[in-house]
């Protein structure tokens, strides 16, 4: 993988590790970004990681399956698609129907991916607060509704700003969660263990 562009070492290592009869893989790379990416891959797959520097710009990375030094509960179950992150006690404040600044079409697709990921967390956040155009994610016909319903079923409080629903003429279209006012939003934010603001 020496001289190969950024994603290639991780892609090739990932492919090699997918073979059930392989116990591990050794990858030679020439930069520390690649070693860090391979370390993250190993962690995600519950594999052991070792890196030996063999002179300047020359690293030998070994990833081994089924590391016994890793506690069993730290190893992801087969097919698990992301680490079990816990968001217990968190309030997530969503103030837009897109994620980040820049391309609108990219932002709108990113927020969908984010809400899906949130619904996959082993411990979901306590509260989801939707403000301004963020309320559009929780109304009838929204593509994000299914993921929000998963979150609601997991006990997450989903609250949408009533003023905002009214502004966008969506008051009767809220399809998941409840309407709240600014006092409710302020108190939820104040009560939260941590606030994740988008």
């Amino acid at each position: 993988m020496l001289g190969k562009p950024c994603p290639m070492p991780v892609l090739e290592a990932s492919k090699a590790l997918a073979a059930p009869d392989r116990t591990g893989v050794t990858v030679l790379v020439d930069n520390t970004v690649a070693t860090a990416n391979l370390e993250r891959l190993a962690a995600n797959l519950g594999c052991a990681y070792a890196c030996n520097s063999q002179g300047e710009n020359h690293y030998r990375v070994t990833i081994t399956k089924g590391d016994l030094s890793v506690p069993a509960d730290a190893v992801l179950p087969e097919g698990k698609n992301m680490p079990a992150l816990a968001a217990e006690g968190a309030a997530v404040l969503i103030t837009s129907d897109q994620m980040g600044r820049g391309s609108e079409e990219l932002g709108k697709i990113l927020i969908k991916g984010f809400l899906f990921a949130l619904a996959e967390l082993s411990v979901p956040p306590k509260t989801l607060l939707f403000l301004n155009a963020g309320v559009k994610l929780a109304v009838e016909g929204a593509n994000t509704l299914a993921d929000l319903q998963v979150l609601a079923a997991k006990g997450v409080d989903i609250l949408a700003c009533g003023t905002c629903l009214n502004y966008y003429q969506l008051t009767d279209k809220l399809a998941v969660g409840q309407v709240t006012d600014m006092m409710g939003i302020a108190s939820r934010l104040a009560d939260a263990d941590k606030v994740i603001s988008l």
Binding site: S14, P77, E78, G79, I109, D147
Partner: protein, 92 residues
């Protein structure tokens, strides 16, 4: 079960979602699972019954699908299996 469509790059994912939504398909976005490919990326989910239609819409618009996987979720854990492509290539 859902079918997962992966793409070479984010632009194809974004364009693919737009096309499938416009085509009236029940398409959803999700981050690309690490077990399919490490790194960042977005893939699309469609119901199995809409897979063939999705493949046709994307092929007609020149958006290449990189891979198709089935997603099965049991006990909160998802398994992804590669799916053989059923639609013949019409590029030639």
């Amino acid at each position: 079960m859902e079918m997962i469509l992966t793409f070479e790059n984010t632009n194809f994912s974004v364009k693919g979602e737009h096309l499938l939504l416009r085509g009236g398909l029940d398409v959803k976005v999700m981050p690309l699972p690490t077990t399919i490919r490490a790194g960042c990326g977005l893939c699309l989910r469609v119901p199995p019954r809409q897979l063939a239609e999705a493949e046709t819409i994307l092929a007609d618009a020149g958006v290449p699908i990189e891979g198709v996987y089935s997603r099965k979720t049991e006990n909160g854990s998802s398994t992804y299996l590669p799916v053989e492509r059923g639609v013949p290539c019409e590029d030639d």
